[in-house]
Structure formats: structure tokens, C-alpha cells
Subunit: 255 residues, 2 copies
């Protein structure tokens, strides 16, 4: 019987618990190749490394599983995995489980969703999983049955070309269910913590507070998470704002 | 008379010719603050730095112009510029001029478009400019009149919330005109150049060949550039795939 091939990466690095939990779940479905960063790459988005060379090393090899660590970004890991470590095109690409929320506009900064968008760009059905807790030892068990439902669905039905899934779970011991949602709107504020070094120069840590702009009735992932739902946000590669093309055409071109 | 405030960044670094050309053009319109990376950050996408601290230094100060270099990513530069170096909310954010094409799916990897998407996330009318030549001394003069038309339009009319512009110019001495386009589809192939170090370990340079998947009649930015047009691709923050929500809702939730 054919065993699906599943490629996995993340942005918390190859040692993260979320990656291990996702890997063990994926092994129930098929052969697994993990190519993950050799350390934390939170906020890496879809960044790609051109300024230095990439290297990787085999961390673990068991029947149906190979794990590699790479010095690059999450997106580099996917490219390396596809080019070097997968003997055929994967049937599924999984990102995560991320330690931290990737709902709302955070999808744009997320290295885990970078993995997933890269998989989608390569024509592979791709799913990102994130958990709202930043605790590196958090209990992912309540999320597992929901992950199974999503993986079962995607392995059976595939996903439309150019569409991937962003799945987030609240930091609560139980959930009210699962919801298909739109991406929430909002903005990060107070993003820089300015300090002065012992030698007197100013430096900054990136921090921030997220302010949701979703109305309470909006079916957004941000709202869904705060109501206790696991959220599934279908996410697309084509980011053209078709709705303004005609207006821009008139105003820019015909003037 | 009120002078617009214009924030500029790029991903080629503060010394790049494209940044200088854009800065001089922007100074015709208002007061300019430049916060740019201290070196090349091509492929940085919307990545943000959490793993180390950010620092910056003043490079140049003239009437109506301040230029800073920062050790972070293009997106970090925007966040730093807004939090530390702009005395009011900018009226306009400009990215570029990038040395190299940011059309089609390249928008997802582009640090220049990272700058622009970050500006858009912050509610600032934002435009990215890219030129298809990678020659660091390329002549941007043919592009300038088209850039003026876009900047004039945006300063006068603004842009719809959550929409920014991705403007690309072909590497040709003259253009056939300007076109409003959709984002092209396609995929990068042959992305890794594998080599062996003098000490015998394998390493990789990120390279690649882009294969467009656009039909010849598609009004895509990729096609437009190859037909000799300056292309304007309206790009959106909300990347929800609304068209599959109902289908996913039935299949995932009600099973």
C-alpha cells in the first residue's frame, strides 16, 4: 500500500516540542522527512537566504523518518528538503506546531506560515498548525483530534491550487469546536523596547501589543480563538487586490 | 504649506543606487526619513528580528532629509522608523527602488515588498518600486516619469485600506506604457547549487530559475513586464481564500 510522503518544518527549530508532537502524528499517516532550523526563527516570514551558504546535518533516522537541522530560514528548510531529502514530491507539507498564535495579520510575519506558503507555492497541499501558548512545554493533546480531522480531510480531498490552511488552537484545556474563519484585521503597537547599553549606545528589542480591529460579530480567526474555537483560515498565494484594479486603471493610466 | 512626510526603506541597503534615486524623487514631494538596512537583505520578505537587538546610526542629515542605517531587516527598519524617527504618521511609505524584479510570486519573498506590506499594515499609503535589472549601477531615468504618476495619484487619492502597490519596470531603455495587472503565477525551480567545501562538507547557495505559469493572454505583471510595460499590481493584506470557506466549512466541520 502507498505510504504518503510528508515534509515537515517549523520556525521554533528542530528541538521544539511542537515539532516533535507534529512529527509523531504525521508518522501515523506516512513517511516523514523533517527539515527544521537549527534554532529559533520566529518572525522569519517567507525569508530566503542569499547572503551566506546553507548547511544541514542529519539529526535522527528511523524507519519512515528522517530529521535534518539546517542553518537557514524555515523557507530555506522547505527548499532544501524538496531539493535534497525527498525522493518524490511530498503528498503533504506540515508546518508547526508553532509555539504561539499565528492568527490575524500575524500570518504575514510567521515563519511557520512561511513554510506553509512555500509548500503551497510548490503545489503541495500544505497546512500550518499553531497553538496560542508560548510555553515551550505546553500540552498539545487537546489539539490533536482537531489536527487529525484537518489532515484526514486534506489527504482525502486535497486543497485548491494556490490555497493552504492556517490552523490555530486556543491556549485552553478544552475547545468549543472548530471554525472556518477569515483572517483577522489589526495592528501591532508599542513594538520597540528602547534600552541603553553599558557603553551608552541605544538599542532596541522587538516587542509589541496586538490590537485587533475585528468587530465582535466578525467571523475572524482572532475572534474564534478568543471564543474558544480551533480556527481554520484558508490562505491564498494570489494577493492581488482585484477589487481596485478598475479604479486604478482609470486613475493612473488614462490621466 | 503642509509638507507630506515620506518614510523610505529597501532591502538592498542604505548605499544602493535605487534607494538614492527614490530618495531624491521623494524630496520633491515632502520631508523624507530613510531607514534602510546596513547591507543587503534581498529575500528578507516580512521577517522581523526577535533573536538579537536592533541598532541604528545616522548616516546623513540635510534640510528635509534624515538617513539612518539599521542592522535589522527591511520590516524592522519600518518599525524603527515609525517608532523613533518620524515625528508624525507618514503620509506615504516608499520601498525601493529594488535592484531586481518583484513581480509574480516574488512579492512573497521580497524584502522591498516587506517594507511596503508593513507600511500598509500600519495604515500608511504604501508603494514598492522595483526595476528588473540586477545591475547595481543601472539607469533608473526611464522609470522616473512613471513613478511620478503613481506617487501623484496616491498622494492625491490615497489607497483603499489594506491595499498597497507593487510597481515594476522592465530592464529596457524605453517602455510601452503602464498597466494595472494581477500578480503572476509560477514557481521557482533548481533552487539549490550544491557544492563541497575544501574540508569535504556539503553546502548550498540559493539560486533558481523562475517558470511562469501565466497563459500568454493573462494580464499579469510578469507578462506585462515582458511586453515592455511598467506594471502596477495592487496587493492586499487580507489573504483569506474566501472562495473555499463554504466548502471547507461543510467538509471539515459537519463531518
Amino acid at each position: 500500500m502507498y505510504r504518503p510522503l510528508i515534509l515537515i518544518s517549523n520556525d521554533d527549530g528542530y528541538e521544539a516540542k511542537g515539532l516533535h508532537v507534529l512529527t509523531e502524528l504525521a508518522r501515523e499517516y506516512g513517511d516523514v522527512v523533517v527539515v527544521a532550523p537549527d534554532g529559533g526563527r520566529s518572525g522569519a516570514a517567507l525569508s530566503v537566504t542569499f547572503q551566506h551558504v546553507l548547511t544541514s546535518r542529519l539529526i535522527k533516522e528511523e524507519l519512515g523518518l528522517k530529521v535534518y537541522a539546517c542553518n537557514g530560514t524555515p523557507c530555506d528548510c522547505v527548499k532544501l528538503g524538496l531539493a535534497q531529502y525527498c525522493d518524490r514530491k511530498p503528498d503533504l507539507l506540515l508546518g508547526g506546531i508553532n509555539h504561539g498564535d499565528n492568527s490575524a495579520v500575524n500570518v504575514h510575519y510567521s515563519g511557520t506560515m512561511g513554510v506553509v506558503i512555500e509548500g503551497c507555492l510548490k503545489g503541495i497541499p500544505s497546512i500550518g498548525f499553531s497553538h496560542c501558548s508560548h510555553n515551550m512545554d505546553t500540552d498539545f493533546a487537546p489539539m490533536i483530534p482537531y489536527m487529525r480531522r484537518v489532515i484526514d480531510y486534506v489527504l482525502k480531498n486535497g486543497l485548491q491550487k494556490g490555497v493552504c490552511l492556517n490552523v490555530n488552537a486556543p491556549d485552553t484545556p478544552t475547545y468549543r469546536g472548530m471554525k472556518v474563519c477569515q483572517m483577522g484585521q489589526g495592528v501591532w503597537t508599542k513594538e520597540l523596547d528602547a534600552r541603553v547599553s553599558p557603553r551608552g549606545f541605544k538599542y532596541y528589542w522587538m516587542v509589541g501589543e496586538f490590537r485587533s480591529d475585528d468587530a465582535p460579530e466578525t467571523n475572524s480567526d482572532w475572534n474564534g480563538l478568543h471564543q474558544g474555537y480551533v480556527t481554520v483560515t484558508p490562505t491564498k498565494i494570489d494577493i492581488t487586490a482585484y477589487e481596485v484594479m478598475e479604479e486604478l486603471g482609470e486613475l493612473i493610466i488614462n490621466n
